[in-house]
């Protein structure tokens, strides 16, 4: 593989983890967030600060980024408990703007000039920036985030996320407190995005506030929605397509965010389940081709008065 292809594959991997982590909050727990880039940024900056200001090695930065972002995400999630639906979307947008402003105007974070000269990670004495080993590292992290997502979807916590997404009041009726599980979702989602931020910072070698702005949050949400929110395959495919396509189709690059926005609108109109959501056209076709039977729901013959 050429260096260029490897770089693209590294970027794609990082964005797959961003989409998967947002999927836990939005797809599983039903909390639509337009501020995910903030947590990506917090992870990147936490990592950069640990490396540049405190001279810590990659592994320390990486773990610190996950923990710090998880804690900050949990704290920022708290005020969001008081709002639902469209107000939550506004609140998460607000979080994004505030976080970027802090990166920009606090000297400790390097201001608009960002933090540069993040040392390349080294393993067993070998230093490398990018390349195949880094590609493997990134995709190992993809595997980890996928495994966490899978585990949650099969666990009790996942069932509770389902319950509060579908009907918060019904969840309350069985004693599932929405607040506790929304906090879990915010914390887990943020922590995983923090890891992605750290991988990004160590790959690029510098961090700037403008990388983590609101439009990036829209881009990440587009990937989740485009692929199929709430599924495991959807965000992965969404991120791969939407992140890789602009790299290989250069003319798309300049209109990237326009295309993300347009796709979001089109998907909402025609395939609200996303490309590979459970009820989406494509997924139904694939299931048919591969001979998996999908039982149509039986309708009760008793007539509702």
């Amino acid at each position: 593989m050429s260096g260029y292809v490897i770089s693209v594959a590294i970027f794609v991997g990082i964005w797959v983890t961003l989409a998967l982590s947002l999927n836990i909050l939005t797809g599983y727990a039903g909390q639509v967030s337009l501020g995910h880039a903030a947590f990506f940024g917090i992870g990147a900056y936490a990592s950069a600060v640990m490396a540049v200001r405190y001279g810590q090695p990659f592994w320390v930065d990486f773990i610190a980024a996950i923990i710090i972002t998880g804690v900050v995400g949990t704290i920022l999630g708290l005020p969001s408990l008081r709002v639902r639906h469209d107000f939550l979307v506004l609140a998460t947008m607000g979080i994004n703007f505030v976080v970027v402003a802090l990166f920009k105007y606090v000297d400790f974070f390097g201001g608009a000039m960002g933090l540069v000269n993040i040392p390349a990670p080294s393993f067993f004495g070998a230093t490398f920036r990018g390349g195949t080993p880094y590609l493997i590292l990134v995709w190992l992290y993809v595997l980890f985030v996928w495994a966490v997502s899978w585990y949650i979807s099969k666990s009790w916590v996942g069932l509770a996320f389902n319950a509060i997404r579908l009907d918060e009041d019904a969840a309350a009726a069985v004693g599932i407190g929405a607040a506790r599980f929304k906090i879990y979702a915010f914390g887990i989602s943020a922590a995983l995005a923090g890891g992605a931020g750290s991988l990004y910072a160590h790959f690029i070698g510098s961090v700037f506030p403008d990388t983590f702005v609101f439009v990036e949050s829209i881009a990440i949400l587009s990937m989740v929605v485009f692929g199929g929110m709430g599924t495991l395959r959807g965000p992965i495919v969404g991120a791969i397509i939407l992140k890789a396509a602009p790299e290989f189709l250069r003319f798309v690059q300049d209109y990237r965010f326009t295309i993300y926005g347009a796709l979001l609108v089109l998907m909402m109109l025609f395939q609200p389940m996303g490309l590979l959501g459970d009820d989406s056209w494509l997924w139904q076709q694939l299931k048919r081709w591969f001979g998996r039977k999908s039982a149509p729901p039986k309708v009760s013959e008793e007539v509702t008065p």
């Binding site: 309708v299 009760s300 008065p305």
Partner: protein, 233 residues
């Protein structure tokens, strides 16, 4: 088992309950009757912990539960079939039941699910069906079944008859009657006094946030005020 003492609940400036006191003994079925807006739902919400009373005390099995979260109350043995059922419409019957036993060990869930399917054979037949494809009566049964999954000592049922055809109301109340043999205590909150009085040991009448009457079903049926207000003369 459940004791509510001098409960005052406010919505902002507006008082919804005035010094409400009631008790439900173990294995007892009690109804709270009242017209729309009498404060029945508020009472249920206060007992579940969804509304915080300004004054008064709620205790369950000898323990004061005022400050507990809804989940802590469920884990102590209170369960609810809320108004309108509120089942998870997009989940299957089995998944709904699973959620009713949230955080119970798997073995207990399987055992309790067998118990519940015995009580509600119609749900056993439809176990893989998505809840929204059930009829209104079946959804109400599912709500009660879901509540039973946590093996409650006391089951609150908010307006079990609402929106159901008379024949289905009868069936729901038949089920409630059967459940009494399983040692569950009931607090039914009902507008439909006629059916409720047939299945309970005692009843209270709530009017504008005050308990105005209490007694055995036979006495209440004979009471002129109850007749006029709830039994259609």
């Amino acid at each position: 088992m459940l004791t509510v003492n001098n409960l005052d609940v406010f919505y902002g400036q507006i008082q919804a309950l005035y010094g409400v006191s009631l008790t439900v003994a173990e294995h007892e079925a009690v109804a709270v009757l009242g017209a729309n807006g009498a404060g029945k739902s508020t009472l249920i919400k206060a007992i579940m912990g969804w509304e915080t009373p300004r004054a008064g005390e709620i205790s369950f099995a000898g323990e004061r539960i005022n400050g507990l979260t809804p989940w802590e109350r469920v884990s102590r043995g209170i369960a609810i079939a809320p108004e309108g059922g509120r089942v998870f419409r997009d989940l299957s019957v089995t998944e709904n039941l699973h959620l009713g036993a949230y955080l119970q060990p798997d073995v207990a869930i399987r055992r309790q699910m067998d118990v519940v399917f015995d009580l509600f054979p119609v749900l056993a037949e439809r176990r893989t069906q998505i809840a929204k494809t059930l009829s209104g009566g079946e959804q109400q049964m599912l709500a009660i079944a879901r509540a039973l999954m946590s093996q409650p000592k006391l089951l609150l049922i908010d307006e079990a008859s609402m929106g159901l055809a008379p024949i289905l109301v009868e069936r729901v109340f038949e089920v409630i009657n059967n459940l009494r043999e399983h040692g569950v205590g009931f607090l039914l909150v009902e507008q439909n006094a006629f059916v409720a009085l047939d299945v309970v040991d005692r009843a209270y009448v709530l009017e504008n946030g005050h308990i105005v009457l209490e007694g055995a079903p036979d006495d209440l049926r004979e009471d002129a005020r109850v007749k006029a207000a709830y039994l259609g003369g």
